[in-house]
Symmetry: C2
Subunit: 185 residues, 2 copies
C-alpha cells in the first residue's frame, strides 16, 4: 500500500490508532485506518471408496505439487459454498459435504484453512484451469514429499488416522514461523 485508497494521499504511516492496541496503516491526511485481516482458504478432501482426490497445481505457488482442492473464500458465499466451488474449479468434480475436518491457521501469512470431508457423487473429474492433473490416491499412494502445503499434509494425515480409528472429529492446527522463517511448531 503506497497511497490511501480513500483520499489518494501518499502520507501513510504505521501507528497504533487511538483506542487500538496494534499497528495499522493510517492516512495522515484523511485519518482513514486501513485494516487488513487474515483470509479464509476453503476446500474439500473428496473421498471415493478408499481413495481421496488431489490436484496437481498448474500455477504458483508450489506449481507441480499436489494439493487438496481449496482456495480463497469469496464475498457472497458461505464457507460450504466456497469449498464446493473450489472442488469444481480445480477438479471439475461434484461432491457432498460430510463434515468439517480441519481448521489450520498459518498466522505469518494470514491464512486460515477450512477443510471439509466430502463424498464424490461419482468418480468423475478432470483438471480445471489451475490444475495439471487430478487423481485418486489410496493411502499408500499419497505423494507425501510432493504435497504443496502443510495444510494438505495435516488434513491427509488426520484423515487416514481417523479412518483407521473409525472417528469423525475436527482437527485444529497450524504452523508458525519465527522472524527468520523457520517453523516453530
Amino acid at each position: 500500500m503506497n497511497f490511501c485508497s480513500h483520499c489518494g494521499s501518499d502520507q501513510l504511516e504505521e501507528r497504533i490508532p487511538d483506542g487500538d492496541d496494534r499497528l495499522r496503516i493510517v492516512c495522515r491526511n484523511c485519518h482513514t485506518v486501513h485494516y487488513s485481516n487474515p483470509k479464509i482458504v476453503a476446500g474439500c478432501l473428496p473421498i471415493w471408496e478408499d481413495q481421496v482426490l488431489l490436484c496437481r497445481r498448474s500455477i504458483p505457488p508450489r506449481k507441480g505439487y499436489w494439493n487438496i482442492p481449496s482456495g480463497y473464500l469469496e464475498h457472497a458465499e458461505t464457507v460450504e459454498e466456497g469449498a464446493l466451488r473450489e472442488v469444481w474449479e480445480e477438479a471439475r468434480a461434484r461432491v457432498e459435504i460430510l463434515q468439517l475436518h480441519a481448521i489450520f491457521s498459518i498466522p505469518h501469512i494470514g491464512q486460515v484453512y477450512l477443510h471439509f470431508l466430502a463424498q464424490l457423487t461419482e468418480p468423475d473429474f478432470s483438471p480445471g484451469p489451475e490444475s495439471l492433473e487430478v487423481q485418486l490416491f489410496r493411502e499408500a499412494e499419497i505423494p507425501w514429499d510432493q504435497l504443496a502445503f502443510s495444510s494438505s499434509r495435516f488434513s491427509l494425515k488426520h484423515y487416514w488416522n481417523d479412518r483407521r480409528a473409525g472417528l469423525r472429529q475436527v482437527h485444529l492446527g497450524g504452523t508458525q514461523y519465527d522472524l527468520l522463517g523457520n517453523p516453530i511448531r
Copy 2:
C-alpha cells in the same frame, strides 16, 4: 475505495480480470487487481457450571445488546489465539478452549464466525472497553430478544440443545439476505 492503493490513480473500474470469473476493482492505470475477501470473527462461549458468559456491547453496531465475546481475527494469530484474545478484551476473562462449536457464514456482509466452547478457569470477569456489562446466564435467563447478532442466537441455541442431549459437535450455519435485505434462510 476511491484511489488505487498501489499507484494513487483514481481510474478504478469494476470488471472481470482475464482468467477470473467475478467482478473485481481493477486500476486502469497500473492494472493492479484489488481483491477483497470475507473476514473471520473468532470468539468463545465461556462456560461456568450451568451458565454461559455474555457481554453487553458498548459500541455500535448493536450497542446495548448481548453477544458472545468475539471479534475480527488479526494477522499473526491463530484462530484459537484470536478467540482467547477476544474473551480477554471484551470480558476480562481467562478460558480454556474445549472444542470448536460453530461456523456461521454471513455472506452478504463477508463475515464468517468461528465460535469455540471454552471453560472459564475461574468465575472472574469484568467489562473490557467494548462492553457495558459482562454476566453469567443460565438457559432460562438468556436474553433471547436482546442478542446482538444472529451468530450468537445460533451458537446459544445449539449449545443448550447439545448440553441436554450430551452431544459434542460442530454446527454449520449461516444467514443470507436477498437484494432487499430480507433473510432468505
